[in-house]
């Protein structure tokens, strides 16, 4: 079954095409990652899927239902975890959750039960009566996630869920998201964190300039675009241009990344010893980030 499907989805703001003819199929019970540089159109796409922004053209189906005509019913199935902190600062932690539960028409008794469940899930139990302003940044983010789970959502839509979290809290969130997936919760995850996408996502789509330019499992993308290994060479800033000139003359397959050069085949690295100290060369497994750079370029997009 398909949880989220978009057909020819397009969004324009004046002359700017934010989302350009996107056709996506996100399966039930998968974690689907949406990657892309800032300004790629991820937020516009997600806003349309969560029914808070009307498409310029195209259609969205959620579990087979047309979002246009069933938006309230569909929004009741979603747990939306936004990137910006829009917790209610006028209310306490528990009041935030209970108020949110009320938007979903969850009865008080059930809401109290769910609240204590999600608070303990994100290890915020002892903060129940704190005002929001007394929470640290990490606690606020965990509370945002807890709030998104209050209605036991069928589909979770997460926009940078672990941004600003320390490694411990990040791991906690990743583990919980994995557990939720095991319980059958479909997830659409927008992230800039490639490690996160690799760890959590069954499939990822890479979005660039409003279009989905690739869409596959992280492993397939890495082997398709990068291979088995990456050789990274650190260059002296003063010496950089001379060395790169030599690489170019030898017609090697390489990519410039700031003050480093990446080779995707070992042949290229044979020359290195004669040009510079060998300790500047290291080999490492390829990551999704290498794919990301390869597909979206290294320059800033906005």
């Amino acid at each position: 079954m398909i949880a989220i499907e978009t057909r020819g989805l397009t969004k324009t703001f004046g002359d700017i095409i934010a989302v350009n003819d996107v056709n996506l199929q996100i399966y039930d019970n998968e974690c689907f990652g949406l990657l892309g540089p800032n300004g790629a159109g991820k937020t516009s796409l997600v806003r349309m899927i969560t029914a808070v922004s009307p498409p310029t053209s195209g259609d969205i189906y959620i579990l087979g239902k047309d979002l246009k005509s069933h938006s309230r019913e569909i929004k009741a199935l979603f747990g939306v975890i936004p990137q910006i902190d829009n917790l209610d600062p006028d209310l306490t932690v528990i009041q935030n959750l209970l108020t949110f539960a009320r938007y979903f028409d969850i009865p008080k008794k059930e809401a109290l039960k769910r609240s204590s469940e999600v608070l303990s899930l994100l290890q915020l139990d002892d903060r129940s009566n704190s005002p929001i302003r007394e929470l640290s940044g990490g606690m606020r983010r965990r509370l945002l996630i807890a709030r998104g789970l209050i209605n036991s959502p069928r589909i979770l839509i997460l926009d940078e869920p672990t941004i600003g979290l320390d490694p411990q809290a990040k791991r906690l969130v990743w583990d919980k998201l994995n557990e939720l997936k095991a319980q059958g919760v479909t997830q659409l995850l927008c992230t800039q964190n490639m490690e996160e996408a690799d760890f959590l996502c069954d499939r990822v789509a890479i979005m660039h300039q409003g279009k989905i330019i690739e869409n596959d499992t992280p492993q397939n993308l890495v082997s398709k675009y990068i291979g088995d290994n990456v050789w990274e060479v650190k260059l002296d800033p003063q010496d950089k241009n001379r060395v790169i000139q030599i690489f170019k003359e030898k017609r090697l397959d390489f990519e410039i990344a700031g003050n480093s050069v990446h080779f995707f085949r070992e042949e290229g690295t044979k020359l290195i010893g004669s040009l510079m100290a060998p300790h500047k060369l290291r080999s490492r497994p390829p990551t999704l980030e290498d794919v990301f750079f390869k597909l979206t370029g290294r320059s800033l997009t906005e």
Binding site: P54, K75, D88, D90, T99, R102
Partner: protein
């Protein structure tokens, strides 16, 4: 256009809960100011004012102040209050990601603004009664009138809130619209003391029919012209109520 659903009550409840948590931070000032005005104007200025029918000046202004401060309550709530929730706290963004739509949010805000006006009406009525300025049991209807008046002003205020670029824009709203109305709607002096043109204008600004109502209820002199007042109030409320739903959607659902 789309209309709100019964779910607007959820937004009203959210605002009520915040009020119950934080009311002590703002309410004392809200009650103190009208009491000060009532005493300063009623007793101070009142010593120099002789009204035609021998009524005391403080008796004349008391019902006007009830309507006037109900107006301020609804307006503050749905300008500064709503704007902070809209732009600074992004509360509405969070709400519309749930089964509620933006029209429910707009209606919840307006009904809450009206509730604040009614609460102010109750507080002011108690104060007026303590000073012995209430002469008719009809005055018990004042909270309902203040609620209606509040619906009207909350609708106008939220409409304005949904189109302004910045929180500073409310300076115009209050300096050029609300405060002048406080002085030209028969709160402090009868409309008949103004030149003919001003009188005619005063009759169609929204506070005048509300003052007309509170004055009639406090004195017990009910008059058929109250029907016209009611029509004027509805004539302001309905278009601004519907309009604010359209402009809120235009602002937030893009």
């Amino acid at each position: 256009m789309r209309f709100c659903s019964r779910r607007f009550i959820r937004v009203w409840q959210r605002n009520r809960d915040v009020f119950l948590r934080l009311w002590h931070a703002e309410t004392p000032a809200f009650v103190a100011e009208p009491v000060i005005i009532l005493l300063a104007m009623g007793l101070g200025l009142g010593a120099y004012v002789g009204l035609v029918d021998g009524q005391k000046y403080i008796e004349f202004i008391a019902p006007g102040l009830i309507a006037g401060y109900a107006m301020f309550s609804a307006n503050f709530e749905c300008t500064y209050g709503s704007f902070v929730r809209l732009e600074h706290q992004r509360t509405f963004d969070a709400i519309i990601a749930t089964p509620l739509n933006i029209e429910d949010v707009a209606a919840g805000e307006i009904f809450w603004g009206a509730t604040r006006a009614a609460l102010t009406g109750v507080a002011m009525l108690v104060i007026a009664a303590v000073f012995g300025l209430v002469h008719s049991p009809y005055a018990l209807l004042i909270p309902f009138v203040c609620f209606l008046e509040g619906l009207m002003f909350a609708s106008i205020a939220l409409f304005f809130t949904s189109i302004v670029p910045s929180i500073y824009s409310f300076n115009y709203y209050f300096s050029l619209f609300i405060t002048p109305m406080f002085f030209f709607s028969g709160v402090f002096f009868p409309l008949s003391s103004f030149p003919d043109l001003v009188q005619k204008l005063s009759w169609v600004v929204p506070l005048t029919p509300a003052v007309h109502f509170t004055r009639a209820l406090v004195s017990g002199h009910l008059h058929p012209s109250l029907i016209i007042s009611l029509i004027i109030i509805l004539a302001f409320t309905i278009p601004f109520f519907l309009g604010s739903m359209i402009t809120m959607r235009r602002r937030l659902v893009v």
